[in-house]
Amino acid sequence: MKAGSNLEKVLEGGYFAVTAEVGPPKGTSTAVIQRKGELLKFYCDAMNVTDNQTAIVRMSSWSGCILLKEMGIDPVMQMVVRDRNRIAIQSDILGAAALGIRNVLCLSGDHQRFGNHPTAKGVYDIDSIQLVQTLKTMRDEKKFLCGEGISGEVQLFIGAVENPFADPFEYRVMRLAKKVRAGADFIQTQAVFDVGKFTKWMEMVRDQGLDKQVHILAGVIPIKSVGMARYMRDNVSGISVPDEIVIRMEEARDVKEEGVKIALEIIDQLKEIDGVHGIHIMAVAWEDIVPVIVERAGLLSRPIL
């Protein structure tokens, strides 16, 4: 075990993992995090706390993680390189490790122009692959990026993301290989709607033998409304929603039920793909639906390890 987190135990134990996402509030209410934690606690193995997602200022990821940890939940601290240089990054990692956060997900972060402070200076001192490598060095060699030693253990289960639907498609697997070489233990992907394209990507992943070196959790976003389906298809960078899904939502009598059905069908297909070791459910503003989806997908009860 590298960190001994619940997520690591579940994945190393060969179980099909389920992770969920908790978006922190644009404010100081601990209750927002606690309510989501309570709701999802028995329906997933770990919960990601986003880091100023879409560059909108929210409560920090690490504080959300601590709140979940106090409830006995295994948190995944998301960390973007948009807002911190290498000094702040390593400092935050020491703090997180000291307080018992064991999973960290490394991301570039949506560009600041998308958020509520579009005139902010982007940091991008290091990139997401260099962040993975930095965390691995801190954990395995107990050294900072500068080579100086770290006192104490830095127990981390290191995650990275990949978007199989971004371009250039052929290069995405090569970049995944780089993340694995940098030290990623698990990967959470962008939401899958185009299962065909994802399947093709997974074939390329298996051809490179990467599925044997890293745990891949496929992203799932349940669609709540026709508007959301259209919005994601037309406006969200990095997400690819096929027209047929939008049409299904448009023609559905019970739109929310259709959204759940689509998510369940996608999960069923993902479970059958070799090398997919779990799913990561990002129910943006629809956390209530996660227990329903996990139960109906036959993924209960979650292993207790």
Partner: protein, 213 residues
């Protein structure tokens, strides 16, 4: 060449709110070439400020305002006009503005924004951000510091779609270009190596200020 553009007139007017008498300085070098602070622009600003009730005590057009010795000499000839003014409005790049500031004890107002140190001449395509630690060896001769919105050294990020950057459909994804170039010249394997964190210290923008010369 330093590329500058005139600040919006309202902003300039805001700077000189409390000033009654103003002295103007233009540059016959880069600012003239950019049409941001040459003779025509200085005369235009003079006219507009006068229309707003300001008095212009004089103006000077200097060959290269960034040349400190030259600027001091030129300004000496206008000592009286400058002395009688409440402030000096400098219609040049940031270097010129700072040169004037170091040559007089008067309040200085910038009349231009400096938008680039040369790359705009190539219309935002190939350009250099003066990072001082060139990575073009690894990136197929295309600079990710200048052209990737996140300055990624191991890109592209997940926002690259159809060859475009996530921040604008008009902006090519630098990493798409880098990968295409490497593929074309048979050196894609070079991207298998993880490029290590960069030394930003020699960077003009992100490193430490240095005393040159």
């Amino acid at each position: 060449m330093l590329i500058s553009e005139q600040k919006p007139f309202e902003e300039i007017l805001d700077y000189v709110t409390k000033d009654r008498v103003i002295f103007l300085i233009g540059c016959k070098g880069c600012a003239d070439g950019c049409e941001s602070g040459g003779e025509r622009q200085v005369l235009e600003i003079k006219k507009r400020l006068e229309e707003e009730g300001k008095a212009i005590s004089g103006f000077s057009l200097i060959d290269m305002v960034c040349n400190e010795a030259l600027t001091r000499m030129k300004l000496a000839a206008y000592a009286e006009a400058i002395e009688s003014a409440d402030s000096v409005l400098v219609m040049t790049c940031g270097a010129g503005i700072q040169t004037v500031a170091s040559s007089t004890h008067k309040v200085i107002h910038p009349g231009c924004n400096t938008i680039s140190s040369g790359h705009a001449e190539w219309k935002q395509a190939e350009r250099c951000m003066e990072c001082g630690d060139c990575v073009l060896e690894f990136t197929g001769g295309i600079c990710p510091i200048a052209r990737c919105a996140k300055g990624l050294l191991n890109g592209p990020c997940g926002g690259s779609q159809g060859g475009k950057c996530e921040i604008s459909p008009n902006l090519p994804c630098a990493w798409q270009l880098i990968i295409e170039r490497h593929s074309k010249i048979g050196s894609l394997y070079m991207l298998e190596e993880i490029i290590l964190p960069k030394n930003w210290d020699p960077s003009l923008r992100d490193g430490s200020p240095t005393q040159r010369g």
